[in-house]
């Protein structure tokens, strides 16, 4: 799904999300709820800095997949799925689990590969026709004449 469409769906589903921006691992904005592209780029730059700072705080080898930073003014969420990340802001005291779930669903829909194209219907017909042919070719059983 297109990132912009996924964000439109996200903001429709979650009333808690005030702003959201989708970006790739190179910091390129692929979708935003903000009208100003310059502000989206600034937001992504700050979010990348937040991610790298958070990465520096971990003790193990595991990859940081999501974070929530809550302040009195509101909360910031960053969720990562492969090369794609999403940063979102909410007001104070959001339902953390719900917001994270919605952000993960949005990312999953962006990263989901399109379903493979269906086989043309003509092939099915051919298969059916060949079955018929096979059935037609089947030798008919003949009743043996009764032995005298």
């Amino acid at each position: 799904m297109d990132a912009q469409q996924a964000l439109a769906d996200l903001t429709e589903i979650s009333s808690q999300i005030q702003a959201a921006v989708v970006f790739d691992d190179k910091g390129k904005v692929t979708g935003s709820t903000l009208a100003d592209p310059g502000r989206s780029a600034e937001l992504v730059q700050a979010a990348s800095e937040l991610l790298s700072t958070a990465e520096g705080l971990k003790s193990g080898n595991s990859v940081l997949t999501q974070l929530e930073v809550a302040t009195r003014e509101g909360s910031v969420f960053v969720v990562r799925d492969g090369p794609t990340s999403i940063v979102a802001t909410t007001g104070g005291n959001p339902t953390v689990g719900l917001v994270l779930y919605d952000l993960k669903s949005a990312l999953r829909s962006i990263n989901a590969k399109p379903a493979p194209a269906r086989k043309p219907a003509a092939r099915k017909k051919t298969a059916a026709a060949s079955k018929k042919k096979t059935a037609a070719r089947k030798p008919t059983t003949r009743k043996k004449p009764d032995a005298p």
Binding site: L57, K58, G60, V63, L64, T65, T71
Partner: protein, 68 residues
């Protein structure tokens, strides 16, 4: 006399407890939760060195998102 003193002490005590509660609530509100791929989670409360690095960045993001 003794009764009014007890009332006054009660009011002062209540005010102090209320102030401490509000301060604690405000301190708990500012925090950072980091979730890792292996299912582990790191929670940083206000005042910890990690949170003090993340909270200003989060405030900056909130300000940019709101256009302030």
């Amino acid at each position: 006399m003794r009764r009014s003193l007890a009332v006054l002490l009660g009011i002062v005590g209540g005010m102090l407890a209320g102030a401490a509660f509000l301060r604690r609530q405000a301190a708990q509100r500012d925090h950072a939760d980091l979730y890792f791929e292996d299912g582990s989670m790191l929670s940083l409360t206000n005042g910890s060195p990690g949170a003090e690095r993340l909270l200003p960045l989060a405030r900056e993001i909130l300000g940019k998102a709101r256009g302030t």
